[in-house]
Amino acid sequence: MRPLLLSLLLVQTVAAASLDSAWIEYRFQNWRRADELFGRVLRDRTADARDRLAARIGQALTVQYRMPGARPEKAAAMYRALLGELGDTHPLALQLRLFLGQSCAQMRPADTLQAHAQFDSVIAGPDALLAGQAVVDRARLMVRTPTPEAIAATAEFLDRMLAEGRGAPAAGAMHELAAGLAAARGDLRAAREHVMRELDAGGYTQVARATLLIQAARLSETALRDTATALVYYRRFVSEVPWDTRAYFCSLKVKELEGAKR
């Protein structure tokens, strides 16, 4: 009995190991190998339900992101099938809806109605990180054809999401979008507000931080004539990102604005 149990355990380990390898290959964009390994897990009769589900998601993702040769339509059908089998109460249902919404948004032309419907379900759900991604992905899709109407509607959507505190972990990304759209509409005061709030929210790279700091300073100085705030952000630029080639320009601005204050 014991050798049999041990051998079953070993087989189980092989399936799990194939799955781990498959995800590694997926991360490294080795599509063919990833697909083979996901298929191996599915053919393995000893693989458990969780491994099988993961392998099926892996296959759908491989179809969705294969470069070149991505097929978001086919991936969408695979996610729909999975959602149909699992039902909306399954712990991974919201993640699958997000994948489905993203694949609908990646289609050319995008399946906007379906994408919005999936993103809205995720936004209404309890997972704040998924909701944050869904808010940003929905806004990106809304503004893909950036007419004045689309820009206004997207800005309104983002303001509402931020006011309601939806998808809080991605608030910085929402402010990033909202700032750009406010600037495009000529509302530079709102643009600066969003830039400053994005800086507070964090979640950006060193390079993005430099851009946000100088935008807060330039919008304050040149568009809003608010030299006191401009001075704060020029100073922060010099101290926080001294390696940037704009640091000396900012230091000159600090001297200029300090001189004007006296």
Partner: protein, 576 residues
């Protein structure tokens, strides 16, 4: 023996010698291969290979020094250095990467396109945000590895998925090298040019000297190739045009000029290539180019270097990476070299003074960067060696041997390199000529360069240069904008793919540290996607508005081009 038999015998002997030589060469090659294989494979030590194309003087010795110290600290390891000739490098690395037999550490830059980097290299992002243990006991102890680099690796982030795949050894800048011995002989003193007028005075004197040599000449003031002329154009133009960054181009309030912002400014009539300021920025080049050796546009970098090394030119512009090789080469040829910053026009300059914004800032850009190959059999050892090379003590030591500038903060710089230290007190950079929407590989770039060579070599006037550029600028610029938009769109899928991989960790991993890190990265990638969406929307909205309500003739012409229709179709405006 008949003459015929004698001939045959001679022929056989010659053939025999030939065959023997080939056999000896073959045996030597086999022996060398076996020796290398034996060293790498028949050992209990963990062997890693570091591959690069830096054949400049001192580089291999510097890396050897680091290897010796590393092996002393970790006796169970062995590091093999593989220098490869530049021309064969790309082919060698690509073949090895595809075959899964690539060296462990690979100098990046000439290997594979950015979009396939995630396929062949390990991401280093997580490691970079942890301290480099080799910095223990120094003032950098406990700091994240990434911030120990002078530029916080700002230039090395992978745009496709916001990961870091490489770290670098040093910083480089470009200066003017001059033949100190010849300078003294020609000028009769050691006073070096500081301003552009001083430089022109030196060049004029060199020309007079060259004329006086008769058949023993000529000596040209400046050795240049098309490569150097392009770099000189950037340096001198930026000094006169930096203010355009915050007066004309800055639609995004970030004191930088995206290529598409240059096109927008032109189409809306915000910039005129015939303006005094832009004219001056190009005329300064033409004045200088009169002192380059004839035919410089058709000369390559090496040829220009030979002209300098053979004392047929007094000056040449080159980078800090070349300094030690050139210094030794000069010593062999019996002269000394010196280094000066670019003598830019000052505010007193009669022709250009009123347009001068000043010296531009130089980046502390991390160079000579290495990636950790996915086919590494000992990635832990390779990563340790990467950290070792870029810890304060070793980075300083290695660069002192090579004669380069260390990439790590708070390190000492050898005296030879002090003239090359990046100038941080300068204006922001415009980067590319204002007459180009991208780089020279874009349509406007190719058109600009063709017209530019004729202009700076004196064949055409500035007005003719501008006419040649403007003839196609509205159409080609629009084509370049479409290309930028498409390329930006293509960068989205790799970011979304990276985010999907993190979603899997979040959904299935039981490791709380891994899920916490995945959540942070997910937010960063979502921010990156948002930033790109803003860029795309901003460009689309602005160009669409110009096409709907053209403020002038240029916008009207743009709206009528087939390229604009492609743009409108790409954005979905056509269906509106």
């Amino acid at each position: 023996m008949t003459p015929r038999e004698e001939g045959m015998l001679r022929s056989r002997i010659v053939s025999g010698i030939g065959i023997a030589l080939v056999a000896v060469a073959y045996a030597g090659a086999i022996w060398n291969m076996l020796r290398t294989t034996h060293e790498e494979q028949w050992t209990d030590r963990k062997v890693i290979r570091i591959c690069h194309w830096q054949l400049e003087s001192g580089f291999r010795e510097g890396i050897d020094c680091a290897i010796r110290e590393f092996e002393k600290r970790f006796p169970d390891t062995k590091v093999v250095q593989l220098p490869i000739y530049e021309r064969a490098y790309k082919q060698f690395i690509q073949t090895q990467l595809i075959g899964g037999t690539a060296p462990d550490l690979i100098e990046r830059g000439m290997d594979v396109d950015d979009n396939v980097v995630p396929r062949y290299y390990y991401p280093l992002t997580d490691e970079l945000f942890r301290p480099n243990a080799f910095n223990e006991g120094t003032d950098l102890a406990g700091e994240p590895w990434i911030t120990t680099f002078k530029d916080a690796l700002a230039s090395l982030i992978q745009p496709g998925n916001q990961e870091y795949y490489m770290v670098g050894l040093n910083n480089h800048t470009v200066r003017i090298f001059y033949n100190r011995t010849l300078y003294r002989r020609i000028m009769g003193h050691d006073r070096l040019p500081v301003t552009f007028r001083d430089l022109i005075a030196v060049c004029t004197r060199v020309k007079q000297y060259s004329d006086s040599l008769g058949p023993a000449g000529p000596v040209f003031p400046i050795a240049a190739s098309s490569y150097q002329a392009e770099r000189m154009r950037d340096v001198f133009s930026d000094a006169l045009l930096a203010s355009l960054l915050w007066t004309v181009y800055d639609t995004r309030f970030d004191v930088s000029a995206r290529p598409t912002e240059k096109y927008l400014a032109y189409v809306r009539g915000g910039v005129e290539f015939t303006s005094d300021e832009i004219r001056a920025s190009e005329m300064v080049q033409r004045e200088l180019a009169a002192y380059y050796q004839p035919g410089f546009m058709a000369t390559d970098r090496q040829e220009a270097g030979f002209a300098f090394a053979q004392q047929r030119a007094l000056m040449i512009s080159s980078g800090s990476w070349d300094y030690q090789s050139m210094r030794l080469q000069a010593a062999d040829n019996g002269f000394e070299i010196g280094v000066i910053p670019f003598p830019l026009p000052d505010s007193a300059d009669p022709a250009y003074g009123r347009y001068v914004d000043g010296q531009t800032a130089e980046e502390n850009r991390t160079g000579v960067s290495f990636g950790l190959s996915r086919s590494s059999r000992h990635p832990d050892v390779a990563l340790a060696f990467m950290k070792f090379l870029t810890c304060k003590e070793i980075n300083e030591k290695v660069n002192a041997i090579i004669g380069w500038i260390p990439s790590i903060r708070n390190t000492r710089v050898v005296d030879d390199m002090k003239p090359f230290l990046p100038v941080s007190e300068g204006m922001p950079l415009v980067w590319q000529p204002v007459t180009v929407v991208g780089t020279k590989w874009f349509k406007t770039g190719a058109n600009d360069l063709q017209a530019y060579w004729e202009f700076i070599s004196g064949v055409t006037t500035y007005e003719q240069f501008v006419a040649a550029v403007e003839k196609r600028f509205v159409v080609d610029g629009m084509a370049d904008v479409v290309r930028h938009a498409r390329e930006a769109d293509e960068e989205l899928l790799p970011i979304e793919h990276a985010r999907s991989a993190l979603a899997i960790t979040l959904a299935f991993s039981a490791d709380s540290a891994a899920t916490a890190a995945a959540a942070v990265k997910t937010v960063a990638l979502t921010s990156s996607l948002a930033a790109r969406a803003v860029d795309m929307a901003d460009l689309g909205a602005r160009l669409h508005a110009l096409a709907l309500n053209p403020p002038g003739e240029r916008a009207r012409r743009m709206a009528g081009t087939a390229e604009y229709r492609q743009f409108a179709e790409f954005y979905g405006f056509a269906a509106e």
